[in-house]
């Protein structure tokens, strides 16, 4: 019981840090992108498309709790949660969203390319499903080099309709690679519901065609995700090849932060809000009893997260912009300087 409570508190902490990060990023992004009929008005601190993982925190938290720094992770356009959960520094992430020199990418990438290679987080990706072949390549290297570690490969429910999904699953199984595929099924693909665009039962069902064992889990139940991921990660570490976790969750926000998602049934959202993974974790914690039962511990954790994010925003805001000369570094070494 005590152990479960400890686990839950740690997961809760990861979740509220993600939530606080997303909320702050969202606030800082208003007016920052022209789309959905609105023009960018230049007022935003976080510019460009910002894909929030609000509501999906349990998947990132539950899976990444089992990962070591020697493990790799590849992510999607909706990658903040995975990056934080993999152990990246929150302040440097926020700085990257602000486009500052102190960000992980020195302001070159922004939200869609959030990454912290030093903790094995090999990057978000602006192209749907594009992280998947990269993940299997990283896992292939881990295997060939007899290094410990596995690669966690996150992708959305829309991504399973792109070719690289198939090529990556096949590859991982053929070479018996240490890959954990994680389908973060939030039931939407941009402004289109994923269901009618998907033949069959989705990621898990497709994995079967590749003899890849899979498990479908309630992705808003952080303990369930944690347990399922633990089981699969254990098997992968035992050398039993790729596995797939199909986590069903929900995208509480629009596709990007400025998308009001007016195309979806308000009832669907209302239902989903009741299923908020953070609220559910609080309820479970209360049910377990013990020191966390009065929820003040959780409140303290949440306050701490909010405070950490507030400080990160302030630091990002105060941080220096990149030098314009930085636009010309890290392009390629051969012929550096031959820009025209």
């Amino acid at each position: 019981m005590e152990e479960k409570r400890e686990t839950l508190l740690a997961l809760y902490r990861t979740m509220v840090r993600i939530r606080a990060f997303e909320d702050a990023a969202e606030a800082a992004s208003q007016g920052g992108v022209s789309a959905y009929g609105k023009a960018a008005d230049g007022s935003a601190k976080v510019r460009g498309p910002l894909h929030l993982s609000t509501g999906q925190e349990a998947v990132a938290a539950g899976v990444c709790a089992h990962l070591e720094p020697t493990d790799y992770l590849t992510s999607t356009h909706r990658g903040h949660g995975h990056t934080l959960a993999k152990g990246a520094d929150l302040a440097r992430m926020m700085a990257e969203l602000f486009g500052k020199a102190t960000g992980f990418n020195g302001g070159k990438g922004g939200s869609m390319h959030i990454a912290d290679f030093s903790v094995g987080m090999l990057g978000a990706n602006g192209v749907v499903a594009a992280g998947m072949p990269i993940a299997v390549g990283a896992a292939h290297a881990q295997k060939l080099q007899r290094r410990p570690g596995l690669t966690a490969c996150f992708f959305g429910d829309g991504a399973i309709n792109r070719g690289p999904f198939l090529e990556s699953l096949n590859w991982a199984k053929v070479f018996q690679l240490p890959v954990l595929f994680v389908c973060e099924d939030n039931r939407w693909s941009a402004t289109t519901a994923s269901g009618p665009m998907t033949a069959g039962e989705g990621a898990s069902a497709r994995a079967a065609g590749f003899d890849i064992p899979s498990f479908t889990v309630d992705g808003n139940d952080v303990l369930a995700v944690h347990e399922a991921a633990g089981e699969l990660v254990g098997r992968i570490r035992d050398g039993r090849g790729p596995h797939l976790l199909h986590a069903v969750t929900y995208r509480l926000k629009g596709h990007v932060s400025v998308d009001p998602a007016g195309y979806r049934d308000p009832a669907e959202l209302a239902e989903a809000l009741k299923d908020d993974p953070i609220s559910r974790a609080r309820a479970v914690c209360a049910a377990i009893g013990g020191e966390g039962a009065d929820l003040s511990v959780l409140d303290a954790i949440a306050r701490e997260a909010t405070e950490e994010v507030r400080a990160a925003v302030a630091a990002a805001d105060a941080a220096p912009w990149p030098q314009t000369s930085a636009a010309f570094t890290d392009v390629q070494t051969t012929g550096e300087g031959q820009w025209r």
Binding site: G48, G110, N125, G126, G158, N161, S189, T192, T198, F328
Partner: protein, 327 residues
Amino acid sequence: MALMTYAQAAVLAVRKEMEADPRVVVLGEDVGRGGIFGQYLGLQGQFGAERVIDTPISEAAIMGAGVGMALAGLRPVVEMRVVDFALCGMDEIVNQAAKNRYMFGGQGRVPLVARMCNGIWDASAAQHSQSLEAWFAHLPGVVVVCPSTPQDNYSLLRASMACGDPVIYMEHKTLWGLSGEVDPEVKIPLVKAQTLRKGGDLTLVSWSRQVAICEQACRELAQVGIEVDLIDLRTIWPWDREAVLASCGRTGHLLVVHEAVQAAGFGAELAATAAEETGCRVRRLGAPRIPVGYAPMLEAQSRIDADAVVKAAKGLVENRNLEKVHA
């Protein structure tokens, strides 16, 4: 005549073609909701989900299915969202759509318009900001169009849908909200460039979003007495040789300005051809060969502003580039 945005002009063009020809269909991600730029707004409501087809996220299949539909008698408008994602359907564009008619000896045709908007998308970084018109100019079998105004977008989209060839139709990612007068009766043929200003000192050729920036530069140049023939190329391939080369012959100087990377950009083709055919002095201005960065001042390094155009124009007319080299 009506005031409308570049996106609305496109919607109107597709609507008119769909009304006139039941073979026209639209397919792509999120087109049912109007497309992420509103470039299909209202069409699914009018024509139904069978003709305005929401598709899975499957660029290869979207493009490939477009080819199959075209071979089977439809006239698809294939939405690739942005040119950057069209890379996911590249075999289908290059090896299938472009070559089909030729390699099967004219047994079939692929009358299809593949829309893939081009250019820097503000603060969207390297994977959403490419301009690849030069690639398609290099690809036998396709037409390449880059409209710069609502009227052009309306008229050229209709011309593209009617031409019977596979067309790479490259709107600009940040022109969607641009307003302008559109006369639905105006026809603009493919391949015809538009001369926006007349002047004897310099031929300035540009297209897409860069045209407006060049117009601004021309106003500044006029103030220092440099009069410019400003040409909006509109169709990148086949391009309007007559208009461009005649102007180069008159002015003796050609400056090409485009948003794409300068190295091996389409400006090279224009400059090389003008130098070959007219012996005029040439100069190009395109982005440096770097990916587009996210932070505003990094992104700005990939943009060509009016100042840069003015400077290059002056340098060319005053023959500074040659001096520099010969010094």
